[in-house]
């Protein structure tokens, strides 16, 4: 119910995930699922607390030199800024100002609803602007790491790809986004390379409005990897997908 892939039983994975015993792709699926499913999030949190007690049970005195080494190491390590999240309102004390600022931004551009539906934690203004102008955002997941969000522009019907944590397409290849209809037909919506970008690694590619695409008949979006100039029909396995 909480998953774009009902065939993958996220609930069954929560235990293994709390023990870091899932495969990388599954960990991503769990991460996304708990982002939208409060009950699953709560169960995962309780398992993580339980796993921590397994950790305490293994406690033993660290070697005496470790403390000084660690303190020296952090002395030359810059801290990362907080990720200003879509769940800003739920964040606790200590980041009040940043969280408040994020809320104002989110409210101002009117993306609260969209941001709640989607699994990312975009920090770029560009990303925020794309999301603000979208009447629909779909998050595609699959066999590769990361996720691909596709935003459909409210005013112009253009599609924009927001790829986060997706490996850049290898030289000579590209990612291609496909619009899938109920009869299994596919139509190319454009190409993107998923080069790194943004504070959290999100890259943004505007694909424009697909010619004579009937979005009412779409059933799914899919991404494959194709030769550099793209293909008329998908040739590679589906890397990321989601129902439309």
């Amino acid at each position: 119910m909480s998953s774009d892939h009902p065939e993958l039983d996220i609930a069954a994975l929560l235990g293994a995930d709390a023990l870091d015993a899932t495969e990388a792709n599954e960990a991503e699926l769990v991460e996304r699922a708990v982002g939208r499913d409060g009950a699953a999030a709560q169960e995962l949190a309780s398992f993580v607390e339980t796993a921590a007690l397994l950790g305490w049970a293994a406690a033993e005195p660290p070697p005496p030199g470790l403390r000084a080494d660690v303190l020296a190491a952090i002395g030359s390590t810059r801290q990362l800024p907080p990720v200003v999240p879509r769940r800003a309102a739920r964040r606790g004390r200590g980041r009040g100002l940043l969280a408040a600022a994020a809320l104002v931004l989110v409210a101002a551009v009117g993306v609260a609803l969209v941001a709640n539906r989607d699994g990312g934690s975009g920090v770029d203004q560009e990303v925020a602007a794309v999301l603000a102008g979208a009447d629909r955002v779909v998050t595609l997941v699959g066999t590769g790491p990361g996720e691909v969000r596709v935003a459909h522009g409210r005013d112009d019907g253009a599609l924009t790809v927001l790829a986060r944590g997706v490996p850049a397409a290898e030289p000579g290849t590209t990612y291609q986004l496909w619009l899938v209809t109920a009869d299994g037909g596919t139509r190319s919506a454009g190409l993107f390379s998923a080069a790194e970008g943004g504070d959290d690694g999100t890259s943004t590619t505007r694909l424009g409005r697909p010619a004579d695409a009937d979005f009412d008949r779409l059933t799914a979006l899919a991404v494959t990897r194709e030769p550099a100039r793209g293909s008329p029909a998908p040739t590679g396995p589906v890397r990321y997908q989601a129902p439309w």
Binding site: D20, E49, A51, A57, A58, I74, T77, P82, R87
Partner: protein
């Protein structure tokens, strides 16, 4: 050790008026202490970090030793985990769990990443033979660690042997559940179920979330 930085850092904050330092009465106090310290670490407070180190380093190091099985490597893993904790402290999301569980998750992931990079299956097989929590305690362990160990041991005793084996292989052995399935020659779904059901029992036996 007497003249090291540790006593100085502690002295500065110690006192009945400092709620951070009603330390080490048990897991609940320890948790509250770590929560308060981590909030300050997120703001760049190095003293708070040093004190957080004092609270959680036995667990961080112990996890690393259990999973990687090599003390020199475990020390590296523990150091990496602490540096990551420092770097990412501002990204801690308390809605996902307590500060200690977050910190120990980082430590466990670091340890697991280390062993998963080892391709030598020989070493992994050797590790798997030595997972039992009831095997010898470390020398000079603290009274507190002993208490934790007793509690968890009792809780583990409430599991079926099959549940316990799967959880120990996954957590202390650092195996993925497909690896556990392969080691035990049972279906993937069975492993997932054993781990989840076992964690539910452990959680209830340990009173997590109460």
């Amino acid at each position: 050790m007497i003249d090291g930085p540790e006593p100085r850092a502690r002295r500065r904050g110690r006192g009945p008026s400092d709620p951070d330092l009603r330390l080490l009465g048990g897991p609940a106090d320890r948790g509250a202490t770590a929560d308060a310290l981590l909030a300050r670490v997120a703001l760049g407070d190095r003293d708070a970090f040093a004190r957080l180190y004092d609270v959680i380093s036995p667990a961080v190091y112990g996890i690393a030793v259990r999973v990687v099985r090599d003390r020199a490597q475990a020390q590296e893993v523990a150091q990496e985990a602490f540096v990551e904790l420092w770097r990412t402290a501002a990204r801690y999301d308390r809605s996902r769990g307590s500060a200690t569980s977050w910190a120990l998750t980082i430590a466990h992931r670091r340890a697991v990443d280390r062993v998963r990079r080892e391709t030598a299956s020989r070493e992994r097989a050797a590790r798997s033979a030595r997972l039992d929590l009831t095997e010898g305690e470390p020398a000079n362990e603290t009274a507190e660690a002993n208490l934790d160990r007793q509690r968890v041991r009792h809780a583990l005793d409430t599991l079926t042997p099959a549940q316990r084996q799967s959880i120990e292989l996954a957590y202390y052995g650092g195996y993925t559940y497909p690896e556990v399935a392969s080691l035990l020659q049972i279906p993937l779904g069975t492993v997932k179920t054993r781990i989840r059901d076992g964690l539910i029992r452990l959680r209830d036996a340990l009173g997590v979330g109460e």
